[in-house]
């Protein structure tokens, strides 16, 4: 197992946002977390990526206990993420956004930057080449010098993924990557996520509302409702699970 979370619990005041959730993600899989609004999906994401620390429970990632890691340490251990409401660095150029993701793989120190050593220059050039390659991969070719905030919405989503890829993660957390996209863009993103797994060899954990996407690409789906895991299984099982239908559509629907 690449990721293994056991008995995760997190409350905010009286609200139990995530309640005793177990979760596991084998290497090379795409798994989705679904559930109605406020089900605790993003909270769970934030716990895995180190933004929150769980009240109880343990997270093992790649054989290491990452429960208490800060976000930057989690990123260093190979967990990268995107955000539900896009959080790019708006006043930086697109290519710089990607380069920020590369930060910890670059080594130029204060001295070599101030003296502009040949090694630092070479490293910069390589980093720019790599960043451009990543942008091309994400379908953002030629937009390197655009400011992130002036990119169209779909491109911003793609840039966020490219930035996360620059971290060179083993696992990618995508928080509603197709939110606000039109059907064509959604299909492209779906293909892109599959390519990420096959070509970049990253395992992917997905929060998604678009059922076509979820059912189409997930190896396994976990359903949360009010912080509790109510179902888990392959798409076919989830589609027919009465608990899930009840959570989504209400009691009468059954």
């Amino acid at each position: 197992m690449l990721l293994e979370a056991k008995g995760i619990r997190k409350s905010f005041g009286g609200l139990m946002a995530v309640d005793d959730v177990d979760f596991s993600l084998p290497e090379g899989h795409i798994e989705s977390i679904i559930g109605p609004n406020g089900a605790g999906k993003t909270t769970f994401f934030n716990i895995v990526s180190g933004n929150y620390h769980p009240d109880e429970g343990k997270i093992i990632f790649d054989g290491r206990d990452v429960t208490k890691l800060e976000p930057d340490q989690a990123a260093a251990s190979g967990i990268a993420r995107t955000f539900q409401n896009i959080r790019l660095f708006p006043e930086l150029m697109a290519v710089e956004n990607v380069l920020v993701g590369m930060h910890m793989h670059l080594s130029a120190g204060l001295g070599s930057i101030v003296f502009n050593t040949r090694k630092a220059r070479r490293e910069e050039q390589r980093a720019f080449d790599e960043a451009r390659e990543l942008m091309r991969y994400a379908g953002l070719e030629g937009k390197e010098k655009e400011l992130a905030r002036s990119l169209p919405y779909g491109d911003q989503r793609r840039l966020e993924v490219a930035r996360a890829l620059a971290v060179k993660p083993k696992m990618l957390l995508l928080d509603e990557p197709t939110a606000g996209m039109n059907p064509r863009e959604t299909d492209e993103m779906k293909e892109f996520i599959l390519r990420l797994r096959d070509e970049k060899k990253v395992s992917i954990l997905l929060i998604e509302h678009d059922m076509k996407v979820v059912m189409g690409i997930s190896d396994k789906i976990t359903v949360l409702n009010y912080g509790v895991k109510i179902a888990e299984g392959v798409p076919e099982e989830i589609r027919n699970n009465p608990e899930v239908i009840k959570a989504y559509l209400g009691q009468e629907a059954i």
């Binding site: 790019l88 910890m104 101030v114």
Partner: protein, 422 residues
């Protein structure tokens, strides 16, 4: 026809640009006493910066102005040399603060504390003051001016260390809280220097320290305005280079990402606290080095030179010029210092003349020189309303070797109206 007109106007623009770039130097050389010639001279430096031309030509032109014209005039009239040195000191301070506030987005209201620390660090040892607490058997004070260079380096290093020690607990705070804590810190430092004259006299309290040894260079005493002009000029050039290189590096990008979105930056693996500390320390060490030079130049310092208003003044320079913009910091510093020392003074002299001739009757209470702070406030408000990104806003550049079909520069706030509206 229209094409021709367009071409014509472009030629006119170019010619007038070059005229504005070069003529002031000649005028200033011919009229070394004229205040306006001096102001035009400084403005023309920015015209050169802005003009569209080969960078090498622009560099040579600026170098001639700063290394030949200015010193040549300075031999005639040391006053302007003094003013431009003052501008230089503030340029360095503004760039230092710009690293903290503009690059990394940490609101620092106590920047002057590090400046004060550097100044006192040199002043205590370069006057007989250190004799009060270090026995004569160990060392004799004041130290000779040859030590100045060592103090310059250690002033920077120790100020950086002070910044590190302050930053360690404080940088976990954000925005307004950080501003309040740094403000308090600066006041503590100032009051400390004000009161450390008893029981052991470290700083000579409010009476200040004097005379401070001027620097020496292999036995050659550097105590003329022209010497300080060159020392400051070299330091300013170094600070500009360092700031520019940092801005374009992985460290600069990490700072910018923290400024833009701290949470996202952390999630991308940026060690936020360490990077903030680094910005704080580098800014502080710039101020420390400048403090040492300031003390040597003034030969007298007291705590009143390092008040809260000074911190605000430097912050205003950064805001006026444009947050995060190195050229903006240079421009902001020049504008504020010239406004203080030249433009307002000139204006009130002019009004004074008019009233002496009986044309106007202006009571001394409304003398513009007395309303310096108000004029600043007004200018800042106007800039905030009409040009919130500053006079020379920061730009993101692709490095020149980055091959791209499009043009290589982009200015953040001046894009197509579409995007601006959204």
């Amino acid at each position: 026809m229209i094409e021709m007109l367009k071409n014509n106007s472009r030629t006119i623009q170019m010619i007038s640009g070059w005229f504005l770039a070069i003529a002031p130097s000649i005028i200033f050389y011919l009229l070394p006493q004229s205040n306006w010639a001096f102001i035009l001279f400084v403005v023309s430096l920015f015209v050169i910066y802005k003009i569209k031309a080969n960078n090498i030509i622009k560099g040579i032109l600026a170098a001639v102005m700063l290394f030949a014209v200015m010193p040549a005039v300075g031999l005639e009239n040391t006053y302007y040399l003094d003013v431009i040195t003052q501008v230089g000191i503030y340029v360095s301070l503004a760039i230092g603060l710009n690293i903290v506030v503009g690059f990394a987005g940490l609101l620092n209201f106590g920047f002057v504390a590090f400046y004060a620390f550097g100044a006192y660090f040199y002043a205590i040892f370069a006057t007989s003051q250190a004799g009060n607490f270090i026995p004569a058997a160990i060392a004799h004070f004041p130290v000779s001016g040859n030590w100045f260079w060592l103090f310059l380096i250690f002033g920077a290093l120790l100020s950086g260390l002070l910044g590190f020690l302050l930053g360690l607990p404080v940088l976990r705070l954000r925005g307004d809280y950080l501003a309040i804590v740094t403000l308090g810190f600066a006041e503590i430092i100032r009051i400390l220097f004000n009161n450390m004259d008893k029981p052991i006299n470290f700083t000579n309290g409010p009476k200040g320290l004097s005379p401070i040894q001027p620097p020496e260079f292999f036995g050659y005493m550097l105590n003329q305005p022209i010497h300080f002009y060159f020392i400051v000029l070299v330091v300013v050039i170094l600070t500009i280079i360092i700031a520019k290189r940092l801005d374009a590096s992985r460290i600069g990008r990490a700072w910018a990402s923290i400024r833009e979105d701290e949470l996202a930056a952390r999630s991308m693996g940026i060690p936020v606290v360490r990077m903030k500390l680094l910005a704080f320390v580098i800014g502080a060490s710039f101020a420390g080095a400048m403090g040492v030079i300031f003390a040597a130049k003034q030969t007298f310092i007291d705590p009143s030179s390092f008040g809260f208003m000074e911190s605000i003044g430097i912050l205003c320079m950064v805001l006026l010029g444009g947050m995060g913009s190195v050229s903006g910091a240079v421009m902001g510093a020049a504008a504020v210092v010239l406004l203080q020392l030249n433009i307002l003074k000139e204006f009130s002299d002019y009004l004074g003349q008019l009233s002496a001739m009986g044309i106007l009757n202006i009571p001394s209470q409304v003398d513009p020189a007395k309303y310096e702070k108000m004029v600043f406030g007004l200018i800042l408000i106007l800039v905030c309303i009409f040009r919130p990104q500053g006079i020379l806003p920061s730009k993101r550049y692709l490095p020149s070797w980055f091959k791209n079909k499009q043009e290589n520069t982009i200015s953040p706030k001046e894009e197509d109206p579409d995007v601006a509206r959204s």
